[in-house]
Symmetry: C2
Subunit: 353 residues, 2 copies
């Protein structure tokens, strides 16, 4: 161990029985989001296992670890805490950790990665392999058993699309937030629904069922009150929470709601197409097979009007080789599987030398 940065956090290690050489080696996978952070500890080796029998030793949960939201210090403490808790529950010390993969929202640049790697190196022994990625990568890996190949579309409050080729190239689309045009996101759908209510009220747009249903949901008596409601709290998630109202109005036949959802399908599909095109994931004949992973509330939680299914239709129509996957495990499991795959690749590389 290079340094003991935080005595309290790692105190459990001192109280643990001395590990024998035969104690299992472990991997840590972390999915660090704006809402919560999840850490999964798995024992090694992970091979030819089905999703049902993954060797998960422990799972721990903490709050936000996006450094843009809570700052570097808090983000770091949260991550250290969540990793320590997973190890403690697993009965493993840091010296047993072969590889760590942190998949964090807010990591968009090599400088972000380097900064986080720097302090991770202070926590773990020198033999521990460390990887830092954007959280979209963990979402992809959760659908591909840890293989970094294909395209992942995330659509919750925000939306982003990421893609990776087998030879290591990557591309991304959207993910720039509502001001910069993420109209397929939950926020985008809800903001357009609110706009439709205002436009129907002042005569710029057609009448819509959204008026009564949104006002009822928010406990307001007139569309005029939407201005105060909207600007009282700038949280994107609060606005995105109206998506189920839009879906239920669309299911009931409301044309305005249907158009909003169809537009969001087009926006989401456009992100996927941009990434697939740039990376050539579909091959030159546009028919090559590639995994197409989809996660997030907008794509999952719908009923009759299934936004995710519509996006899949758009994509498979253009790229018949796209294999749609809705992951059955959480992104933190994807991060752990990814960590394991990184380790395998490295040892393959070493064997070849």
């Amino acid at each position: 161990m290079k340094k003991q940065r935080n005595g309290e956090t790692w105190k459990f290690e001192i109280e643990m029985p001395v590990q024998r050489d035969s104690s299992p080696e472990v991997v840590l996978g972390i999915d660090g989001g704006t809402t919560s952070t999840v850490c999964i500890c798995m024992s090694l080796p992970i091979s030819d296992q089905t999703l049902d029998s993954l060797p998960v030793l422990a799972r721990s949960v903490a709050g936000c670890s996006n450094h843009n939201s809570v700052g570097e210090t808090v983000a770091r403490e949260t991550l250290e805490q969540v990793m320590a808790e997973a190890l403690m529950k697993s009965g493993a010390k840091r010296s047993a950790v072969c590889v760590v993969c942190l998949a964090l929202s807010g990591v968009n640049h090599p400088t972000d990665q380097e900064r986080i790697l720097n302090w991770l190196r202070d926590i773990f022994p020198s033999h521990t392999k460390l990887f830092v990625q954007n959280d979209a990568v963990a979402a992809l890996a959760s659908g591909t058993m840890g293989k970094l190949h294909g395209c992942v579309l995330i659509a919750g409050t925000g939306t982003i699309c990421y893609g990776f080729t087998e030879d290591g190239r990557e591309a991304r689309a959207a993910g720039a937030g509502p001001v910069l045009g993420d109209w397929g996101s939950g926020y985008g759908i809800a903001a357009q629904a609110l706009t439709a209510v205002v436009k129907a009220h002042d005569g710029r747009g057609p009448q819509t069922m959204l008026t009564s249903d949104i006002l009822l949901t928010l406990g307001l008596s007139s569309p005029d009150e939407l201005i105060g409601w909207t600007y009282a709290d700038p949280s994107w998630a609060r606005i995105a929470a109206l998506v189920p109202v839009v879906v239920s109005c669309a299911e009931a036949g409301d044309e305005v709601s249907n158009k909003i959802l169809l537009d969001s399908v087009q926006e989401l599909a456009a992100s996927v197409k941009a990434v697939v095109q740039r990376l050539g994931l579909c091959g030159e004949d546009r028919k090559s097979s590639f995994p197409f992973v989809m996660v997030g509330g907008v794509i999952e939680n719908n009923k009759k009007w299934d936004i995710g299914k519509e996006v899949i239709n758009c994509i498979t129509e253009e790229y018949p080789g796209a294999c749609p996957i809705r992951p059955k495990v959480e992104p933190a499991v994807g991060a752990a599987l990814l960590a394991w795959n990184y380790l395998m690749k490295e040892s393959e590389g070493n064997l070849r030398r």
Copy 2:
């Protein structure tokens, strides 16, 4: 005087020479915006005057008086201060004020008006007539010599459209802010330009001259840096300041920029049409004459690509009776003229009784 609410503010009155019965009566017109507040003091009577020879005695300027932005107390102090300064410069006491018209941004509801009237009544003597309006009303009056008839379109950082019939009905469209679909505004135009740059960069949209010109203007080296720039400061005005870049790209033939400006023209025209329709300003034959006043940076400050002119073309095509007006005096003058018109109407009413 009911109460002496603020000794310091009105101290100048004690030091003034005793007014004779012949001292001129005055009106106050206030345009209270989010950026600044302007007060105009005019002597009475105002009749058959041209705009060049209006009896302006004084003009005073203060900061923001939007109660939503700075709170009730500060807004009130700012307004009291700016009125006191205009009166002091005019050499007039409050007892000389026949009528006050406050046109304030953020006043959207009868309860807002009532609250402001309540404390205004404490400042002025009982014979002073008091009127509180939305600031759009002053903009209209600045183009109609104080007559409350017609339609006014304001398009600066935000946009709003207001209309009044001669028999006192009123209607409004847009003005609900960017989340709620004010896409014709300066903020809307600039946000769409930023979105176009991001989409061109990640492969979702066509290449555009906006990329190089916006990055150069902001001193950034890659579209990826726009995310940080955009969310570093949530001020709408900061984003709206990019409108001239969009206009110059459109003038240079950039198709994406042209489409953004054409869309903004359609959005602005839609607000005007909604108000004209609802009030029937165009009459049953759709040809009746009505004033159509236009103010704000988006409509004024353009060169070859003239957004205001395009909006006028849209409107006069549909309503040949619309009389486009770009006011030559500021909204505070409009508020003063409006105050005078209110007074005239009241005395006409009294004569008829």
